[in-house]
């Protein structure tokens, strides 16, 4: 590492330098700038906001379903609409809300937390966003046209195969899934490379903020899990497409319906952790801030994350206990499913140990964290029950499973996410969300959530199957169903209040200042909202909570260009300064490439020729993207020839 020079005090970056940086890093004005922006703050927030729009849409579908089930033989929805609604609801929540919202948080926060100016591959990020948006539009346009998928969000064959699902509904699903996963995959690459190479000098592996660690581990899971669903849904589409008609899943021609289940759950179980791990990152960030102490057991937490990721790939078969599996297989996967409780338990105990004896300041974010503990505990416990084959077979495909998965996903991911929204909203907008409104939101959400989903445990044990559009009065399920429906409306009121509050606070909220919570990670070391260049001088760090540890003598980085988009690259292990990296400027090509890519997938719903035609169009857009522009080359200063950096394996 280049030694800091205490004899060369930093010149205050004057207004001129800041203005130059702002000019360099700001996006172009107008609609063109809005489309072509490559700022991680623009795109990260856009991911989050878009994901919340899809949450609202998926939520409206859920409310409609609850309305239908409120009374026996309800008449709000017919069976066909009900099928489309629950499939689109599940697909939206898993593919268009939960994963993208976490990735958006990562894209926004990782560069700030590691102390750099943008994510590694800005144009790729822009491309990823549009793939996501187009995939979401595809699903909802289809739903409006009465072509919404109707076979359940995990699209089991043979039901979803050509024989039992004629028409285009399943094709819409399989193509939009592949398209949205392209977005997820490029986001994962983005986050790993940023966290590995663009960290502030001094932020060695053992000082990386825990949220960044969770995003890195999550991204690696995405890299290994998402290809499975892209492959399996492409195979499904090929089986269904007239003129192609392959037989991957066609039992009559040597295919296998269980192959679908294996490939799908090989993706979809890790997916649960892909959603849950970033949420643990929120917790590990928020808890230290509101207890005013560093997190307990940092190495144990990081190792638990990695262990969860590994074990998470060895449990997918527990979704298939109701299929004819070999005995040994059942045993192994039961064992693995129980084992994953261990690293998650370690995490929970580390958080509890941090809370224990700390002076807890219960502000809204912290309130949601406490709500998480209650909700996730119930979801975790019903999960332990479901890991046992004998219980699982009994409650398979009943509302017990619906209760479990909503406790895990809402309790485990949405509560931390809402905590994160309250926590980072001031960073995004420069203003606070209302504290008193926050408490109201919390209690509405918490009560509504429990009212909606707790009774479903009982309904499941009483035998109510999931995915039925109605039931008879004699079955005795109406009381609890009505409770659940009332609960869903309370939950919706809570979320609506949050949206109203967020809208209002953007303009009228209390001004936040750079660090309203007195937190320790680097995103709080710059203004709220951060300027386009994030930091006037790139920071360096000496510990895990750089803002707390800074006594005014932590060095800063100088000497980076202000007239081109230049950032500092550091070494993988020790984050020693290594070289200057010139980032690409904004461009319209990624948008065009995403448009062409979406064209392939929309076209493939109808005709195989869309693949060659769309590929040529996408290829041309990508060539345009990578073709060198007339932008000035980075200035080659006369430089010291650096020694080969430490950890030679890099």
């Amino acid at each position: 590492m280049i030694a800091a020079r205490p004899d060369h005090p930093a010149p205050e970056p004057d207004d001129a330098a800041r203005a130059a940086l702002a000019r360099t890093w700001a996006r172009a004005p107008g609609l063109y700038g809005w489309i072509t922006t490559t700022s991680h703050k623009d795109i990260g927030l856009r991911f989050v906001v878009t994901a919340f729009v899809f949450l609202a849409l998926g939520g409206i579908l859920a409310l409609a379903m609850r309305l239908q089930l409120a009374t026996p033989q309800g008449r709000a929805l017919g069976p066909d609409a009900y099928n489309q609604f629950f499939t689109t609801h599940g697909t939206t929540m898993m593919f268009l809300f939960a994963v993208p919202v976490m990735e958006g948080m990562g894209l926004y926060l990782v560069p700030l937390m590691v102390g750099t100016r943008n994510d590694c591959f800005p144009l790729l990020m822009n491309f990823g966003y549009y793939c996501y948006l187009f995939a979401g539009l595809m699903l909802y346009v289809a739903l409006v046209l009465n072509t919404g998928p109707d076979m359940g969000w995990f699209s089991y064959v043979p039901l979803s195969g050509p024989d039992y699902s004629p028409g285009k509904r399943v094709d819409v699903w399989s193509q939009m899934v592949t398209l949205v996963e392209i977005s997820t995959l490029v986001g994962a690459v983005e986050i790993i490379a940023t966290a590995f190479k663009l960290r502030a000098p001094g932020m060695s592996l053992n000082r990386i903020p825990l949220f960044v660690w969770t995003m890195v581990v999550t991204s690696f899971m995405i890299v290994f899990a998402m290809p499975a669903v892209m492959l399996s849904s492409t195979m499904l589409a090929a089986d269904r497409l007239t003129g192609i008609s392959t037989h991957f899943y066609n039992q009559a021609e040597g295919g296998d319906a269980l192959l679908w289940q294996h490939l799908f759950w090989f993706f979809a179980h890790p997916e649960v952790y892909i959603i849950f791990l970033p949420a643990t990152g929120f917790l590990a960030t928020i808890i230290p801030t509101f207890t005013r102490r560093t997190i307990f057991g940092y190495p144990a937490l990081v190792l638990s994350l990695v262990a969860t990721a590994f074990i998470g790939f060895g449990v997918w078969v527990h979704h298939m206990f109701a299929t004819p599996l070999p005995r040994v297989g059942q045993g192994v996967f039961t064992g693995a499913s129980l084992m994953i409780v261990i690293p998650n338990g370690i995490q929970i105990f580390c958080w509890v140990a941090t809370l224990w004896g700390g002076r807890i300041r219960v502000r809204t974010p912290m309130l949601f964290v406490l709500g998480f503990f209650a909700a996730f505990l119930i979801g975790g416990l019903s999960g332990v029950l479901l890991a046992s084959v004998s219980i699982d077979v009994q409650v398979h495909d009943t509302f017990f499973v619906v209760a479990h998965l909503h406790y895990v996903l809402i309790g485990g991911a949405v509560f931390p996410l809402l905590a994160a929204v309250y926590y980072w909203y001031p960073k995004w907008t420069g203003r606070m969300l209302g504290e008193r409104t926050g408490w109201v939101v919390f209690w509405l959400v918490f009560i509504g959530f429990n009212l909606t989903f707790f009774p479903m445990h009982h309904l499941g044990i009483w035998g109510m199957p999931r995915r039925v559009y109605t039931y008879l009065p004699e079955q005795g399920w109406h009381g609890l169903n009505l409770v659940a429906t009332v609960g869903s409306w309370v939950l919706a009121m809570g979320l609506l209040l949050l949206v109203v509050n967020a809208w209002w606070s953007r303009r009228y909220g209390e001004v936040a200042g750079p660090d309203p919570w007195g937190a320790g990670t680097l995103e709080w070391a710059t203004e709220s909202p951060p300027p386009p260049y994030n930091f006037a001088s790139l920071p360096t760090v000496r510990g895990r909570e750089p803002v707390w540890e800074d006594d005014g003598t932590t060095p800063v980085v100088t000497g980076l260009a202000t007239d081109t988009r230049e950032v500092l690259v550091t070494t993988l292990h020790d984050a020693a300064p290594d070289h200057r990296y010139h980032m690409a400027g904004d461009s319209v090509w990624p948008f065009l490439a995403a448009l062409a890519t979406a064209g392939i997938f929309v076209g493939l719903i109808f005709h195989p020729a869309a693949f060659p035609i769309g590929s040529v169009a996408t290829g041309l857009a990508i060539i345009g993207w990578f073709w060198p522009s007339k932008e000035p080359e980075p200035i080659h200063h006369e430089h010291e020839r650096p020694a080969v950096p430490d950890g030679g394996g890099e």
């Binding site: 280049i2 800091a4 020079r5 060369h8 005090p9 930093a10 205050e12 970056p13 590694c120 790729l124 690459v189 940023t194 190479k197 663009l198 000098p201 890299v223 290994f224 290809p227 499975a228 892209m230 492959l231 195979m235 090929a238 008609s245 392959t246 037989h247 991957f248 021609e253 040597g254 295919g255 296998d256 192959l259 070391a525 001088s537 790139l538 360096t540 060095p555 800063v556 980085v557 100088t558 000497g559 500092l568 690259v569 070494t571 993988l572 300064p577 290594d578 070289h579 200057r580 290829g619 073709w627 060198p628 980075p634 200035i635 080659h636 006369e638 430089h639 020839r641 650096p642 890099e650």
Partner: protein, 237 residues
Amino acid sequence: MTVTATRPTIDASRLPAEVRDGRTPAWWGNVLFMTIETTTVALLLASYFYLWRNYPQDQWPPPQGNTDPPILKPVPDLLLGTVNVLLLVATVPLMRLVDRRCGRQFDDLEKLHATKPSKAPPGKRPPARPRVVMYGMLAVFALGCISLVLRWHEFPALNVRWNENAYASLVWSLLGLHFVYIAIEVVEIAVLFAWAALFEVGENQAGDIILTAEYWYWTVGVGVVIYAVVYWFPRVV
């Protein structure tokens, strides 16, 4: 972090602007995309073996009863596939030459930038377009095109149409996926060649050619594995 007059500084202006290989973010991006593609290929191969286990195992590939006479073991013809895989392997040393020459070009340019231009030893400026790089890329491009043509003719040599049974769907997918990989690489090499021909083999181009070469090695390696499974596995079981 607010900048105060007392803060020490780390001056980044004297760090190089161009480095290559594992030190760059681009290298990591490349490796991660290769990992994604490797997972895809591995899962497709896993599907192949999964479905194989569903058949009576001496009947792989599944017999074809709709031909006269029926073919009991319709294994793919070896000739074209073998020629193609040998051709692909033969491109590796060629690509390696290009790759190494680009590495040297990169280092030479970087060394030049490390000294003041006025102090640079005269006549030492590396050539704008090293011949090994240009001719080597052209050769790999040509061989890649031939490989695509061969692959196109490999499909009928599989002796089964993709929509006859699940085995057929899988072998067509394996070869088809690899066809797409080769096609992408060939286009990439063509674009890089054009870029180098129009401008020069500067640090940017040299770095990109090195990354493309790495993806090419990966493509060839995957091709060898797919060849072994598609052409030899049915023969040895």
